[in-house]
Subunit: 267 residues, 2 copies
C-alpha cells in the first residue's frame, strides 16, 4: 500500500491564477525552460515537470518497458519544479495523472526549445511531443522554439511574443484537436507574426560514418534540411528564413481525409 | 579512412523485383516481422533493418546523442536482415542513407506490430514512426498491426490482406504526404476492409504506482483507452471492435488548415 500517494500539493500556489504545466525536451536545467518560467510566472502558477537529461528528438515516444520516476527539485511561490526520468510525453502523462490531481492545468506549454521545430521537425520534436500529448488530453497546448541550438542562446527578444500568445490562448482556448507550434527566427528583430503551414521538405545526407574498432557500421545521425518549397510564403520555414515569428496551427488528427474516397475504390 | 563503406550489396537480389524496406518496433526477432517477411518474400526483394531490442512506444523518436550501429544478421536469396541499435525511425534513416545506396526501396513497410495502432496510438507507435519516415522521404509506406500484444499471436489470417494491400500500393503508389495505417482485429474471421478515419479518444489512468525504497514516485506507464466516439462507424476503433480490417490513410502534413484564418484574426 502506498500511504503517500501524491495528491495536489501546490501549497504555495493561488488557485485564482491559471495553472500552466510546462515541459521540454532539453531537460529541466536548460536555459530555454528557465527563460520560459521567467516569462510566464508573472501571469500564472507554473508546474514544471521536465526530463532529467536532454531528450532532443524524442517525438511522442513513451517508456513502456521502464519505470518512470520524478523528484521535486525546487518549490517557491507559484512555482513547483520536478525532474523526471521519462520522455517529454511521459512527463506530461505522469504529471496529469499524479501531481495535478484535481487541479488540472489550464494550459500546457512546451519549450522554449533550443532549435527549430518547423516543417517536418514537428514529427521528431520532443517539445512538440509535450504539446501533442496536452492536445490529445483536450488541454490547450503551445510549443515555443528558437532557431538556435546554442546552450546560451539569447531568448530575451521572445518575451513579449511568448507572453502575448500564452495570454491569448488562455483567454480564447484552442479548437478541439488543435495545438500551436510557435517558432522564432534566430534574430533579435522580428518582422512580426505569420500564421503558417508546415513547410514541405525532408532531411538528407543523414548518416555520418564514425567507424569504431574496425567496424564501419557506426553512424551519427546528422543531416541537411531540404526545403522543397523555398519560395512559398505560406510555409513556416519561409517565415523563419525571412525574419518572422512562425505560428503553425497543428492538428493531432492525422487522417488524410482527402484520400479516403479514392482509397475506397481500391477494394 | 573507411575502406569498407557499405555500398549496395544485394548480391542475392534480383533488381527486376520490387524492393521493400521493412522495419518495426518490436525488434528483429519478433514473430510479427518474421510473418511479414514470409508474406512478402514471394512478391519482392526484402531489406529488413529492425531494432535490436523491443522499441514499442518509440513514436518518431531519433537518436541525436548516441551513435547508431547496424549489423548483418542473415542473408539469403532476396532477403537481407540487419539488426540496428537505433529507434525504428533511425533504422529507416540509416538504411536509406547507407545500405540502400542507389537502389532505393519501392515501398517501406512497418510491422507487423504486436498491438493496436489505431486512434491516438498513431502518435506513440514506432511502427508508424517507420512509415511516417518513409512517407516524409517520398516513398510509399504502409504499416500493418494486429490488435494482439502476445508474442505468439496468430498472424496467419492477415496474409491475403497484407499481400493485397502491398501489391496495390506497389502498383498504384500513394499521394504525396500520405501513408497507410492498417490495423487488424484480433479475430481470425475478418468481415472485410473499411477505409476509416482516426478515432477520437485518449488514454486515461496512465500512472500505476510502483513504490521503491520508500520512494512513492515510481510509476509504470499504463492506461485505459477512452473512445470518445464509440458509435461512429467511420472510426478505425469502431471498425476493429466490429471485426473489420481498418485502413486509415494518414498524412504527415499536420497543419490545422481549418484554424488558420481564425488564428490570423488574433494578431
Amino acid at each position: 500500500m502506498v500511504e503517500t500517494w501524491p495528491q495536489k500539493n501546490y501549497t504555495t500556489m493561488e488557485e485564482k491564477r491559471p495553472l500552466i504545466l510546462i515541459s521540454n525536451d532539453d531537460g529541466y536545467t536548460s536555459k530555454g525552460i528557465h527563460e520560459l518560467i521567467d516569462f510566464l510566472l508573472p501571469i500564472a502558477d507554473l508546474l514544471v515537470v521536465a526530463p532529467d537529461t536532454p531528450r532532443s528528438g524524442s517525438g511522442c515516444a513513451i517508456n513502456v518497458h521502464t519505470p518512470i520516476h520524478y523528484e521535486l527539485v525546487s518549490r517557491s511561490v507559484g512555482l513547483d519544479v520536478y525532474k523526471c526520468s521519462g520522455t517529454p510525453t511521459d512527463c506530461i502523462k505522469i504529471a496529469l495523472n499524479t501531481l495535478c490531481g484535481k487541479r488540472q492545468p489550464d494550459l500546457i506549454v512546451g519549450g522554449i526549445n533550443h532549435g527549430d521545430n518547423s516543417s517536418v521537425n514537428v514529427h521528431y520534436s520532443g517539445t512538440m511531443g509535450v504539446v501533442i500529448e496536452g492536445c490529445l488530453r483536450g488541454i490547450p497546448s503551445v510549443a515555443f522554439s528558437l532557431c538556435n541550438h546554442a546552450a546560451d542562446a539569447d531568448f530575451s527578444p521572445m518575451r513579449p511574443y511568448v507572453v502575448q500568445v500564452t495570454q491569448l490562448v488562455l483567454a480564447k482556448g484552442l479548437p478541439h484537436q488543435v495545438c500551436l507550434n510557435v517558432n522564432f527566427p534566430n534574430t533579435p528583430d522580428y518582422k512580426g507574426i505569420r500564421i503558417c503551414r508546415q513547410a514541405g521538405g525532408y532531411w538528407d545526407k543523414e548518416a555520418q560514418p564514425i567507424p569504431h574498432r574496425d567496424d564501419p557500421n557506426y553512424y551519427w545521425l546528422v543531416g541537411e534540411f531540404v526545403d522543397t518549397e523555398p519560395d512559398n510564403p505560406q510555409s513556416d520555414h519561409w517565415a523563419l528564413r525571412n525574419g518572422y515569428v512562425a505560428i503553425t496551427p497543428t492538428t493531432v488528427d492525422v487522417t488524410a481525409y482527402s484520400f479516403m474516397e479514392e482509397l475506397k475504390t481500391w477494394f
